[in-house]
Symmetry: C2
Subunit: 394 residues, 2 copies
C-alpha cells in the first residue's frame, strides 16, 4: 500500500461536511489514557459545552462512542421495551430507520406518515395518537431535519400536540440540525435527542452527541429488562461519563479531542451567529438555484438551511452532473434516496462547509456543467442572484 | 474553554497504547465523502490488509465503526438468537462481559470458568460441552488475550477440543493479541473474531476489526429473526463494505485513514518481526520485574507479551505508585480489576508502545518510586536484568 493523500474536496453533500482545520489539528494530538485526570477534564468540558449547544440543563448530555446512527439506536434501545407502543413520524429515510429499530426492540409501531419532501400536519399527529385509547404511546419520535429530503419539522408545533399527551416522551433526531438550526431542547421539552458530529459541527464522523431529560432517565431506571445493547446501555455509559468514572468501554480519545475543539469553535462563533450564517448561505444558494431556473423540492417554510434539495430538471443526467462536479471541480453533492433517487440533488451547507465562497463556487460549477449539457441559463445569473441575496442581508 | 494540549505521556496501561505519529498525521488528513471513489479505495485497502493481519481469506473482514467492545457485541448479536446455547469461557472481565451480552441476546448461557490469572484446561471445556446431550452449543466463545489478567489462552488446544463438536462455532476475542501475538484465524478455523485498534495496532481507539468465516455467514443468513442491533447488523454492514456499497451508516472517515496507515506500518514491519518485538520487550520487562524481587501473576506459558501483570508487593500502596508514575514520569500503567483490584499492576507493551526505551524507563521509574517507599531493591538491578535479556536475544 502506498501512502494515502486525500484528494482536495469541497464537501457539499449530506455529510460528512468539511471539518474545520483546527478540529483536524486537535484530533492529531498525542494520545492520553481514557482514565487520565487530564482526559476526565476533556470529558467534563465536552459535557458542559454540549449542554450549551443543545440548550439544555440535562445532566445526561454526552457523546455516544459511534456515529449518529448509533445515537438513534441508543435512543430506542434504552427507552423501548417489548410491547411498548412507539409512534414514529415518517417522511424520509431516517424516519423509516427509526421504525425499523423500534421493531428490533420489540416495540409496537404506530406509523405516522407524510409524503417525502413534506413536513407533518400537527392535527394528523394528534389524531393518530388519539387512536390509542387505553394506553398512550410511550414515545413520539420525529426527525427534526430529514437529511434524505431537506425537510425541517418545526418542534414547537409537535410540542403543542404532545401537551395533550403528557405521558408520551418526545424523541428527536437532530443529526442535521444541531449547530445549524435552533434545536432548543429544554424550551421544547424534548426528552431524548441525538445528533452526529459530521454535519453542522465541522467535525469528522465518529461520535453521536445525545441528551436525555429527567423523565427519560426515569423511564430508563424503571425498565423491567436489561437494555438489549451492552455497548449503548446508558445505565452503564452514564457512570463512565459521570462522577463515578466506572470503566465501561474505552472512549475514542482522538475523536473526543476533535469534538472538544469543534465545540470550542461553536462557543467562539456563538449559536445565534452560527444559525444566521447557515440561514444566509442557504438563502443565497436558493436565490442562485432559482435564478438558474431550477426548483427547490421543499416549500420555503420547511426548508433546512443545512441541507438543500434541488429538483433535477427533466433531461439532465443526475449521475453525470454529480460526477462532473466531483471530478472537474472537486465538489461533492449527494443524490436522492428511495423514491427521490434521480429526482433531486442534496446540497449540504453545514458547519465549516457553510460559507459564501462554497455557495458561489457551487453555483458557478453547476451552471457550467448544465450549460455543457445544453441546459439553458443566462451566464452568471446564479452568482449574481446569490450575491444580491448576500448584499440584501448585509 | 481554552485550547487543549495533551500532556506528554508514555502509555503502558491496558489501552489505549501510544499511536504511531504517522497514524496521527494520517488521521488529520482533510475529509472526503464516504462514498467518494477515493474513499472506496481506502475501504478496499483496509479490508485486504486486515485479511493479512488476521491471517485469513475471509471475505467479510472489516472494521466495525465503534470501539472493540462494539466488536464483541457485533459478534453475539449477529450469531445468537433467543434460545441458542452459547458456551463462554470466563477467566476475567472480558469473558464476563461476553456472558452479559449473550443473555441480552436471549441466549442460554453455559459458563465455563477458570480462576482469574489462569487459562483453561481443554479437558474441562470438552467435559462442559459434552453435558449438552441433544443440541450442541451453537458457539464456544473464548478470550484469546484477557486484558484484565494478562492471560493468553492458546487457540490450538481450543481448536482441538472443538474438533469433537463440529457444529459449534469458535468465537474469539483478540482485542489485546491482534498485531502483538499470532492469531492465525484460518489455521485455527476461528469462525468469528474481533479486535480493537487501540492495543497492538498503534492506532487510536474508535474502530473494531472483525472477521467472519463462511460458516458464520451461513448462520447469519439462516437467522429466523432480524439482528437486534440495526447499527451492528452485518447483513447490512457487509453490503456497505462490499461491492454493492449500499448506504448504511457514515463510516468514521478519519479513523479509517488512521487504521489504513496503522496497517501499512504493520505490513512494513512484517507480522513475524512484530510478534518478535512484542515477545522480546515482554521478556526483558519480566527479567527486570523479577530482578526487582517482584512476581508476575501469570505462569510463563500463559503470559501475554502485550499486557504484563505484576503482583503488587505487600505493604506497597497501589494508587500512590501509579499516581507517582503518571505525575513524576508521565508513565501510565493500569491497576487491577474486580478480584485483582489493588493486587496487580497491568503493564501494557503494545504496538508503538512496545519498545526497549519504554521498558527501561518504566523499570527505572518503578525502582525509584518503590525505593522512596522503603521497598528494598538493588539499585540498577532491574535495568541490568532487562539489558541482559536484550543482549541474550541479540
Amino acid at each position: 500500500m502506498r501512502e494515502f493523500h486525500p484528494p482536495r474536496r469541497i464537501l457539499l453533500g449530506p455529510g460528512p461536511s468539511d471539518a474545520d482545520p483546527r478540529v483536524l489539528a486537535a484530533m492529531a494530538g498525542s494520545l492520553i489514557g481514557h482514565l487520565d485526570p487530564e482526559f476526565l477534564r476533556v470529558m467534563d468540558d465536552i459535557q458542559s459545552s454540549l449542554r450549551l449547544l443543545f440548550q439544555t440543563q440535562n445532566r445526561l448530555t454526552i457523546p455516544i462512542s459511534a456515529t449518529g446512527s448509533a445515537g438513534m439506536e441508543a435512543a430506542f434501545v434504552n427507552l423501548v421495551e417489548p410491547g411498548d407502543t412507539v409512534a414514529v413520524c415518517i417522511n424520509g429515510v431516517f424516519g423509516e430507520r427509526m421504525a425499523d429499530i423500534v421493531t428490533r426492540c420489540g416495540g409496537v409501531l404506530l406509523r405516522i406518515e407524510a409524503d417525502w419532501g413534506h413536513s407533518f400536519d400537527p392535527d394528523a399527529i394528534r389524531s393518530a395518537l388519539k387512536v390509542l385509547k387505553t394506553v398512550p404511546a410511550k414515545i413520539l419520535a420525529v426527525v427534526h431535519a430529514e437529511t434524505s429530503t431537506g425537510v425541517l419539522t418545526p418542534l414547537d408545533a409537535i410540542r403543542e400536540v404532545l401537551d395533550d399527551f403528557p405521558e408520551t416522551l418526545l424523541l428527536v433526531d437532530c443529526v442535521t440540525s444541531l449547530g445549524g438550526h435552533p434545536v432548543e431542547i429544554d424550551k421544547h421539552r424534548v426528552d431524548f435527542a441525538y445528533s452526529g458530529t459530521q454535519k453542522c459541527l465541522s467535525c469528522p464522523p465518529g461520535l453521536s452527541p445525545i441528551t436525555a431529560s429527567i423523565k427519560a432517565i426515569d423511564v430508563l431506571r424503571g425498565r423491567k429488562n436489561k437494555v438489549q445493547s451492552w455497548y449503548l446501555d446508558l445505565t452503564m455509559v452514564e457512570k463512565y461519563w459521570g462522577a463515578e468514572r466506572t470503566y465501561h468501554h474505552t472512549a475514542p480519545i482522538s475523536m473526543n479531542y476533535a469534538l472538544r475543539e469543534a465545540l470550542r469553535l461553536i462557543e467562539e462563533e456563538g449559536l445565534e451567529n452560527r444559525w444566521g450564517r447557515h440561514r444566509q448561505n442557504h438563502q443565497a444558494l436558493v436565490a442562485g438555484i432559482e435564478a438558474l431556473g431550477l426548483q427547490m423540492l421543499v416549500r420555503p417554510e420547511n426548508r433546512l438551511w443545512s441541507l438543500n434539495t434541488v429538483r433535477i430538471p427533466d433531461g439532465v443526467n443526475d449521475a453525470k452532473v454529480r460526477s462532473s462536479l466531483l471530478q472537474e471541480f472537486g465538489i461533492e453533492i449527494g443524490g436522492g434516496l428511495g423514491p427521490l433517487k434521480g429526482k433531486i440533488w442534496r446540497v449540504g451547507l453545514m458547519g465549516y462547509s457553510s460559507n459564501r465562497n462554497n455557495v458561489l463556487l457551487f453555483l458557478n460549477a453547476l451552471e457550467t456543467i448544465l450549460s455543457q449539457d445544453g441546459f439553458r441559463a443566462q451566464r452568471g445569473a446564479a452568482i449574481d442572484a446569490a450575491e444580491k441575496a448576500y448584499a440584501a442581508k448585509a
